[in-house]
Symmetry: D2
Subunit: 145 residues, 4 copies
Amino acid sequence: MPRPAPWRLDPAAYPHTQSVQTRFQDLDVLGHLNNVAFAALFETARTKFNREAELWGKRFSGRRAVVARMEISYLVEGTYPEDVEIATGVGEIGGRSWSILSCMFQGDRPIATCDVVIVMDKDADGNGLPDHFKARLAEFRVREG
Amino acid sequence: MPRPAPWRLDPAAYPHTQSVQTRFQDLDVLGHLNNVAFAALFETARTKFNREAELWGKRFSGRRAVVARMEISYLVEGTYPEDVEIATGVGEIGGRSWSILSCMFQGDRPIATCDVVIVMDKDADGNGLPDHFKARLAEFRVREG
Amino acid sequence: MPRPAPWRLDPAAYPHTQSVQTRFQDLDVLGHLNNVAFAALFETARTKFNREAELWGKRFSGRRAVVARMEISYLVEGTYPEDVEIATGVGEIGGRSWSILSCMFQGDRPIATCDVVIVMDKDADGNGLPDHFKARLAEFRVREG
Amino acid sequence: MPRPAPWRLDPAAYPHTQSVQTRFQDLDVLGHLNNVAFAALFETARTKFNREAELWGKRFSGRRAVVARMEISYLVEGTYPEDVEIATGVGEIGGRSWSILSCMFQGDRPIATCDVVIVMDKDADGNGLPDHFKARLAEFRVREG
């Protein structure tokens, strides 16, 4: 099983970082953050990133964009009540889709990565991502090592 | 249906306040914080209050304490991505149980209250709450209007 | 702290019963169903009851109805992966509000009760619950002991 | 973005299938099952599969096994209150890890797939998966098309 590339675990690779609080309800029977909670934590960071970067499909094109794939690599157990820091940026930009890459840290240690692929509906003429939306995405690219 | 007493909606009535983040996943089909999410938000505030006030049964007595009742009054819809502020304090203190009272605010507006009753196991001699635990609880009482 | 009345723990008191599955994610650090999960389980039973009984405000009046209060009494720890059975019926019917009463069983043992108060918006003329809606609610009343 | 292979969407490819209930709380602001709920639904199916197949590390070896990676492909929106059917089986079997592959159906339509990689701790002698555990896994392999 491939581990995330080293640069994926470096906060400096991502243009955006934020604290996200963990919840008591996130704990599993072993006293660690449960696997599903990681998905909710990454989602919250991603939606806040999208707002701050104004990276909604609707804002740019009026078109719908949906999550087509989510992949989480669990590296180390997470704990409560410490917050996590989630670093986020844009990965590949394709004709109709783009990826959002994140890394979650707790106490300076990377504990998980998340890759999400988002796909936008074509417009009435069959066009994919508008150029100005692609340009906006490009401003928030991760810096691959 | 009785509304919470006016003093329950006053942040000054509570000895402890903290910010709790909302999550995208807390939203319901109407775009408001869902009813279950309120329970998770109040629980997180309560567990952090218990840690800061050192109000665990175990710390004081080695005995188990469980939530026996939870009551939430929903006053106004909550929104994302704004944080909520949750004010918390101790209510009634009984022979084996005590209550924790909270009020959730968003943008300075009270949006919900929560009353929880916690019951501690008796000790081997059939005793209820230890005196020093009661004294600790009393330090964190709400100030009823 | 008052315990639920004995009739509240009798499945025969409720006109409607259904199985609701528990989830691995419902478990807390002690290996029991967590307090927040109870709220989600009761909510699922309540929404299915409302559909089967056709007890939506909208269906009858086009008006909005919201949960104003939720109270859960925790009686016994719940476990996974066993399903729970949730018995549900209508309690008090007021001018603008009504209550939905439930009891959750696991392995024939009552493990929690839930009381919810729902309030309907007044119509343009300031009227509360329509008579035909009240009649419908009355058909699904619990049978108090 | 690669779509799941056609055989991954065929219920006949998987040795194990079960119904999992959706919850009202699973709904997002658009009235569909939210992305995080899919993770909880797949997890519940996986833990039940592991129990029925007796595929716990502990049962076989006393060793700990953890989820190292989870990947979900979202194909079609899911709805409430309909149940989902989740088909599950074992994918690749490696020296220290194995994968569990699932497909979620609703109304006979595949709506999502999930791939999870589980890694088992080495034993005191540095050995990976015990042979009898590998044999057990092999009994529950998916049938690739």
